[in-house]
Amino acid sequence: MNASIATNQTILVVGGGISGMTSALEAAECGKQVILAERNTSLGGRTSLLYRYFPKMCHPTCGLEINLRRLKANRNLRVMTQTEVTSVTGKRGDYTVTLKISPRYVNQNCTGCGECAKVVEAEIDNPYEYGLSKTKAAYLPHAMAYPQRYVLDASIVGAADGEKAKAACKYNAIELDMKTETVELKVGAVIWATGWKPYDAAKIQPYGYDRFDNVITSLEFERLADPHGPTGGKLLRPSDGKEAKNIAFIQCAGSRDENHLRHCSRICCMASLKQTQYVREVYGDEGKSTIYYIDIRSIDRLEDFYQKVQQDSAVKFVKSKVANIKLHEETNDLILHGVDTEGYHRYAAQHDLVVLAVGMEPESNGIALPADMITDSSGFIEGSKDGGQFSAGAASSPLDVNRSVQSATAASLRAIQVVHKTSATEGAR
């Protein structure tokens, strides 16, 4: 992609999840020039790995399809994948950004025919399945990947597999000598839509995520429920592939906890309520779900969903922060210990699978933000002091998809204001 297209009238959006795509598209559909930089190999972000959305139980990929169509139809928007922002210098309306583009080892000649994947033998943990399954080291990220191009995992570059892949490609799409590129661009405004990552569940020691196979995260559970996922939509537990029919959902796994994340992650209550309905979808009354919670936070009309799930005889609610989990060695089941604080009921409850509703940590924790950036105590981004860089979606605060998109749309307007003003002042000159 050539740097010359960018000027101080260009808006850079960092992150190609639903927030980033929204910010980019909304601005582009107002006629602005936009560059969308995504670190991963394809757009879609976290939500493309979810099975369904609450409260409608509709599929994230449906919205992704529309956004991709908008994006394909819009010439104001340029997408750069495997691209990270390494520095932002300059000032509001006149930034110079440095982008690091990692090699895909596959160029735009790729037709997505898949011949390379057929010949490559090496397998890697599927990065789009939280490592729950393997994929060939030459792979199409997922069924709706955009760009619809294969990726060669660096591990086979310089190995026999890499050569095999190259030989199998009729279209000279594979470039084993592709190098990391660095590009400098001029942009007027930057929108950080870097999103969130699940809190490292292993740090919540009493729940033994690192010790017990059948303690998983809510995001891994999404993959299990997804027909495109590693189990083809069957709720099979990791230890023995047994159907999980008595599932515990533990709320505030990391959230609202000064030993972990001091904030409430907002979405987890609804996510677990939603996931109890996955269990019902598969097993009907057979599938039991129990939600261990402190406060159920189903705000505005989402309350209806909570009330609906409360009516579900297969779902139980226990007002309790689970104290610890012990392994039942014979069965690989888990015993949850704690006290239901409504009244006083001590329990030692056995479940065949435990899903930790892990909290949202800003993905930007761990990437170097420009010095000028203001973040809160949890690392969520407020924006830059000079008012030319903004945050959108879950990068700005723990938000659900709907609110993320609102936030992303608002961020586009703020960015447009910046480029509008620079053009106005330049016009005046």
Binding site: D257, H260, N324, G338, V339, R346
Partner: protein, 207 residues
């Protein structure tokens, strides 16, 4: 001692939370509890608690002074510190439990003859006397805390262990006569008395 109680009641009228905040070790943390219950589930002797820590905090906020201070729940604390490390609000729960027990004991509202209360008292006395705990005297004292008869029973019950410890040189009968101690217990007593005096002044005990 009861007058200490009456005096406290008078002083704090019906604001038990404030009383706890000002007079109980780490009491100012009680208001920060968010009732998640992780402490209740983490306690190894949990099922022996009539009122779990989180519930005690709620009772304090609800002004249930009598119930809280006469409860024997906090006397069940083994000081395992599970509650402290798991509390999402970082309340020093173990210390608050100790503080409540101490305060109840101080006002003489704690359950009479509550075994741990007795053990704690004996232990302290043993250490305060010489500066070091004398395990033999401490144990004997314990066996006889409920009177001679019960004492004999207890001692008999534990005889084998006692003997075994003697055999293994881990309980020295000679300790009865003298044994380990700090050089100048006298000044040590003064130090402890001084510390108590300051604490009473600070917490507004007149008795």
């Amino acid at each position: 001692m009861t007058n200490a109680n009456q005096q406290a009641v008078a002083l704090y009228s019906n604001d038990f939370l404030r009383e706890v905040e000002e007079r109980v070790e780490e009491g100012e943390w009680v208001k920060m509890c968010m009732q998640c219950g992780v402490c209740a589930g983490s306690c190894p002797l949990g099922n022996a608690w009539q009122h779990t820590p989180q519930k005690l905090f709620m009772m304090i906020r609800a002004g249930k002074r009598e119930e809280v201070l006469t409860s024997d729940s906090m006397w069940m604390c083994t000081s395992c510190y599970n509650c402290i490390v798991r509390c999402p609000r970082k309340l020093p729960i173990t210390h608050i439990m100790h503080g409540l027990a101490n305060y109840a004991h101080r006002l003489n509202l704690a359950p009479k003859g509550q075994p741990t209360r007795e053990v704690a008292r004996l232990f302290w006395n043993s250490l305060a006397k010489t500066g070091r705990v004398n395990e033999l005297k401490f144990s004997l004292a314990m066996y006889f805390k409920d009177g001679i008869v019960q004492g004999i029973k207890n001692a008999m019950a534990m005889q084998s262990i006692g003997l075994a410890l003697v055999m293994t040189k881990r309980l020295n009968p000679m300790e009865l006569f003298g044994g380990h101690k700090c050089k100048d217990p006298g000044s040590l007593h003064k130090m402890i008395a001084k510390a108590r005096e300051i604490e009473d002044r600070k917490k507004g005990f007149t008795s």
